[in-house]
């Protein structure tokens, strides 16, 4: 098969690399693609931020997207890995089902969700995506198909969830859905004055299914970490208005805007970010109860298509780390201090609470996770290296699916099971046929 030759990048537009992109419709075609001695990686919808799904050769799963099995009584579904969460949600909601875990965008594939073991606003209550998987099918480098789960071929299962595509190509995934009565979320919105207050709120609201906070990371002193925290529950029928009650499971497709081209770098500078953050904070007063549609609650950014172009042609870095719960707010404060000293604030810095996690290589650990966007500019990589030191010192780690720049030492110090992960991958991918620029940069397989 002739591959398409393209320059590709993931959501943050950095790095941009030339690649041969292969595509397939049927699993029987894969053996022809998986030739030995060719470095390849599976690629879903390119919504990670970095180089995890970039390699000289990429296998696009986007045409491999069918629903294979659906038990509508018990809420169990099996799909091919290239299906988009958007398409799944559109199908599921009218029947009263929802995805057990969703990230902040619905434009990712099921395979990407598994390979990054994604988390949502409900991690503290319901865990990461892998918690809900019954079993999955994976094609390894020698073209063998394995069925893996928490009970079968467990080594391969735990090296696949969060394993960034290095164990093989995920073909299909069977997982459990969540029952819903309405397509709405009852949301509380609470404004806090500083970081300590928001951390207390996470504790106070930890029985809510969904929580997250947006932080203004440019404030210093007693205002440091002032935030708007959101807590949500699936709305019950009786909470809806009479007219909403007629069609409680109606799907909402919001009108979307689009950023048509890359904005020049000067548009995003310290003052514009500061202004934006203040406006955002100002607009979001404490509101006890609002009923909003699921799309606005889970995927607020999806209504602005291509918002990544806001950061201009050179792209940006999303820096997402987690610090263990035992650390309290210490490490977080150090990081926020550094950011505000530097004045390199980020729009939409998002803080979430993680609960306990069984992990070989999955990112989450019990603690607080913060995600920040930084446009690529002079000095950014040095600056982020300084933040890495704080993350290491405080026992945290950085999300591989959002990483485009960390170094091997940081990886080894923060992913405690790195060696075990490598041992398992070596067993199933001995010729490192599956590899990415991420795996090479971090020496994941060396």
């Amino acid at each position: 098969m002739i591959p398409a030759k393209k320059n590709i990048a993931n959501w943050n537009n950095y790095p941009v690399v030339p690649a041969n992109e292969f595509s397939f419709d049927y699993s029987e075609e894969l053996p022809f693609l998986l030739e030995p001695a060719k470095s390849m990686i599976a690629r879903g919808n390119g919504r990670c931020y970095g180089d995890a799904s970039l390699s000289e050769n990429v296998i696009s799963t986007l045409k491999y997207h069918h629903i294979l099995f659906f038990d509508k009584e018990n809420g169990i579904i099996e799909c091919e890995s290239g299906i988009l969460f958007k398409d799944l949600i559109d199908f599921l909601i009218p029947g009263g089902w929802f995805l057990p875990v969703t990230p902040g965008t619905k434009f990712i594939t099921l395979g990407g969700a598994v390979a990054s073991d994604v988390h949502g606003k409900n991690h503290h209550k319901e865990g990461s995506f892998s918690e809900h998987i019954l079993e999955l099918k994976l094609m390894t480098a020698d073209q063998e198909i394995f069925t893996v789960s928490k009970h079968q071929n467990t080594d391969l299962f735990f090296a696949t969830v969060g394993g960034m595509g290095l164990s093989g190509l995920i073909l299909s995934v069977k997982f459990r859905l969540k029952k819903i009565k309405t397509a709405y979320i009852s949301q509380k919105q609470i404004r806090t004055k500083n970081l300590d207050e928001v951390i207390e709120l996470f504790e106070e609201y930890k029985n809510f299914t969904y929580t997250m906070a947006w932080i203004d990371c440019l404030q210093q002193g007693h205002k440091q970490g002032r935030s708007v925290m959101f807590a949500g529950e699936h709305t019950k029928i009786e909470e809806l208005t009479v007219s909403q009650q007629k069609r409680p499971l109606q799907i909402h497709s919001r009108k979307s805007l689009s950023v048509p081209f890359n904005l020049p770098a000067f548009v995003l500078n310290q003052s514009s970010v500061k202004l934006f953050n203040s406006m955002y904070y100002g607009m979001h007063r404490t509101k006890q109860n609002a009923i909003i549609d699921y799309d606005s609650f889970f995927f607020p950014l999806d209504s602005i298509l291509h918002w990544n172009k806001m950061y201009g042609k050179s792209g940006f870095i999303q820096y997402q780390f987690v610090l263990p719960i035992s650390d309290g707010s210490e490490g977080l404060k150090k990081i926020l201090n550094k950011i505000s000293e530097k004045g390199w604030g980020s729009f939409l810095a998002v803080l979430k609470l993680f609960g306990k996690q069984k992990s070989l290589i999955s990112f989450p650990m019990e603690g607080l996770t913060l995600a920040l966007d930084f446009p690529i500019r002079k000095g950014i990589f040095e600056f982020l290296n300084e933040l890495d030191v704080i993350v290491i010192d405080h026992g945290g780690r950085i999300y591989l699916s959002k990483d485009a720049r960390m170094n091997r030492e940081t990886y080894l110090k923060t992913y405690q099971n790195a060696e075990e992960f490598q041992r398992i991958i070596k067993k199933y991918n001995p010729g490192t046929q599956f590899e990415s620029y991420l795996s090479k940069r971090l020496g994941l397989l060396d």
């Binding site: 098969m1 591959p3 419709d25 049927y26 099995f69």
Partner: protein
Amino acid sequence: MTEAIIHKQINVLILGATSDMAKALAELLARKGYQLFLASRNIKRLEAFAADLTIRREIKPELIEFDATDFASHQDFYKGLSHRPDWVISFFGYLGDQNLAQQDWAESHKIIDSNYSGMVSILNIVAEDMEKRKQGTIVGVSSVAGDRGRQSNYIYGSAKAALTTYLGGLRNRLYKSGVHVMTVKPGFAATKMTYGLDLPKAITANPHQIAKGIVKGIDKKRNTIYILFVWRFIMLIIKNIPEAIFKKLKL
């Protein structure tokens, strides 16, 4: 009286159903609740697609083995269908390798049979039946490549030219029986057939546009459709270049 009697079920036979265009059409028709008969030489490859249609669109398509170049099997194939189709939409075709075909008769033969002989063989049978029933729609996917011979793909092109002429004749014959025949010339299309080729985006249609175009064309009883309007112009120009000049071009 049951629903089925009030709203007559429309049965659609799709030949070459693994084609990307065919799948896009099947998806579109499934949303409208049409009954689908998906024919392919490789029905195993349609199982996931059919499962998806059953789950997501709540229609259960029938999958039937069909090899366009196994001419002898065509009568039995058509007779064996559980319903007489109201629409027959035929997508199968093979681009082949022009250079290879120039030197190797087997490749030329395969191109001719897959794009032309196979269509004649099966559509003759369909035409006989629809003519008798005095109703039906036949759609054949041909190509602008058949509108003029070019060095880069004239073996494929000539087979499509023959198909276009065949479909024109069939339309003429079946008009009086109330059977509609439509020729589709998609121009460039982004499908498996052209994957990896660097096609100019602005004049390349995607399978969903083609599927929509076909349904609209059937609705309006069009004779020949190009999916993207620009292709009418492009082909008008290409067809009008004098042969004395055309033969010197690198096309």
